[in-house]
Amino acid sequence: MAKLDPQEPVFSRLSYWLVIALSLCWLIPLFWVLGLSFKPNEELSYGLGTVFRAPYTLDNYSDLIRSSQLGRWILNSVVVSIIQTVLVLIICSIAGYGFARLEFPGRRALFVFVLIGLAIPRQAIIIPLHAMFVDLDLHNTYTGLILPHLGTPFGVFLMASYFRALPRELEEAAALDNASRWKIFLTIALPLSVPAQITLAIFTFLDAWNDYLWPLISATRPEMYTLTIGLAATQTNFDQSEGIGYLMAQAVFAGLPMLILYLIFQKYVLRAVAGAGGR
């Protein structure tokens, strides 16, 4: 982003201060949480204002590591999110390429059929899905958590659009170079679609990480909780929890993986969210 430049018109200086004000709105609660997490619970029970003065402690974090299943829940979330992301990328790339480049009867109709999936809210199918997974005995397994989210119309649509926009001549040149369709997909189309893959990966990962409704139904045993479910479960039992400092430490811990990922993929997240996806 541009540095503050006194030569620039008033408008851009204004927007600069606006950005600072807005980011403060987001940052203050985060620092609030962070501050509370370092306070002894007993002191916080006198009032939250105590956050501004010593003593500070790491007890909440050590309690957390010793007593809760948070580590397990984070692991579950990581496993589910990563596997789901990888599988979604594979499935959507192949399906998207098929819709973009292969000629087969009923292609249009099938594509429309897939897109109709965009209009069906997940909540609408959750009861039949639950019944089905009971029959298949898939609840409280990773498979059970991952499987329902693998068919993503949005991903298929995104990849199909991206493949369609790749210059056809590249693939024709490859065909003249004796590459099979499969080889063209793997060695030409796929490497060139990396920007779209990254966009889709980020959306899928965020979606999986933040998902609440399905894990709430599917994971009923605490050791199969994902992070979202685990945290919610602790917080609804506020009376029995060891106090607000402890809860805040939990929240910090939970947000950490996302923060790290964001720092690594910052450039791509911004691009994905800005909807560029392209070059």
Binding site: E172, A173, A175, L176, N178
Partner: protein
């Protein structure tokens, strides 16, 4: 043997027919140029040969083998695309190697072929770059290099020079001609630029609106255009066309009366029994300035090119006439000049556009 034989090719996209019964024989080692205006179907014809489009009708042979049912990769051809179509994520070396790897060529043979192609095209120092690190001219060389490494029977070029600047285009023209002599392969080159066609081709295929108008060596196409379209398309400045009002016979030859009553003698035989011309054509350098000449023109613009003078003028009925004068010509804007077209060069065109050629001078 890599003669290319196109027999009765037709191609329709949906209901739109873009090629109509195209038949051309291209000899082994020949440099054939497909020439025609934008949209006439040149690229489509090339893509049919390459196997990137399927034929609606007809037959394609290379040598003795019928290839129109084969996969693109199995036809023994290489194509240089107008956009070059280099694989953007691969180095130049990988671009050149890709086709050979796909048919399981041993690594040492691939390296050797790449070296050869790189030497011929002087791109040795570019081999480890990516396409986006190359200039337009260098990309074009790499695209040709990718074709050469495959040692195909037939090279197809789709307007490969159109993205280059004028100086580079002229140089590359010469280089492609050299390459053709060096490799001795059959080449089919598509262009809408008649200068490229005239300078490079051993055979020109003039196309118009999906049909072949004429096939022949450059000079033949230039001197004996089969149709009005060919006559107008080839040659700069363009051939002049003068409308004919009436025709009569004068000693066995056709005599034309123009709209202003002027009479032009020709050496087009009347006995040949063909339809009478509605237009007469002659090239700008096939006239003499002569106060008694049948064509009375008024000069509009004079271009002094140094070695010659181009004069843009019009007849009294507005028909534009361009003629070439010597470099010391004193002609001025507004002058009235008489022109006498060379008797043996006047070509007639009948209502359907077919050319009626004069008898050769004795």
């Amino acid at each position: 043997m890599a003669a290319v034989d196109l027999r009765g090719l037709s191609k329709a996209f949906g209901l739109v027919k873009v090629l109509h019964d195209v038949s051309v024989d291209i000899g082994d080692g020949e440099f054939a140029v497909l020439l025609g205006p934008s949209g006439c179907g040149k690229t489509t014809l090339l893509r049919l040969i390459a196997g990137l489009e399927t034929l609606s009708d007809g037959e394609i042979r290379i040598g003795d083998e019928r290839i129109d049912q084969l996969q693109p990769g199995q036809r023994g051809i290489a194509m240089v695309f107008q956009s070059y179509a280099l694989y953007p994520h691969m180095s130049v070396r990988a671009n050149l190697a890709y086709g050979l790897k796909n048919i399981g060529t041993p690594a040492n043979v691939i390296a050797q072929r790449i070296d050869q192609a790189a030497t011929i095209l002087e791109i040795e120092q570019l081999l480890d770059r990516k396409p986006h690190q190359l200039s337009g001219g260098q990309r074009q060389r790499v695209a040709i290099g990718r074709a050469i490494t495959k040692s195909p029977k037939v090279f197809l070029f789709d307007e490969p020079l159109s993205n280059l600047d004028a100086a580079l285009r002229a140089r590359t023209r010469v280089e492609i001609s050299k390459l053709h002599q060096q490799l001795g392969a059959t080449m089919i080159f598509v262009t809408h630029d008649q200068v490229e066609a005239m300078t490079m081709a051993s055979k020109i295929v003039v196309m118009n609106a999906g049909r072949v108008e004429q096939v022949g060596p450059p000079l033949e196409v230039y001197r004996h255009p089969a149709t009005r379209f060919v006559a107008a398309f080839i040659g700069t400045p363009q051939m002049n066309f003068v409308p004919v009002n009436q025709t009569s016979e004068n000693g066995g030859w056709l005599q034309a009366t123009l709209k202003d009553g002027a009479r032009l003698d020709t050496r087009i035989a009347t006995s040949a029994g063909h339809a009478s011309p509605v237009e007469l054509g002659f090239r700008p350098d096939e006239v003499a300035v002569d106060p008694d000449g049948a064509l009375k023109i008024e000069v509009e613009v004079v271009e002094r090119l140094g070695d010659r003078t181009l004069v843009y003028a019009h007849l009294s009925d507005g028909t534009p006439i361009i003629y070439q004068d010597h470099s010391d010509s004193q002609v001025q804007r507004g002058d009235r000049v008489g022109l006498r077209p060379h008797l043996h060069k006047l070509i007639g065109f009948d209502g359907s556009g077919k050319a009626l050629h004069p008898e050769l001078a004795a």
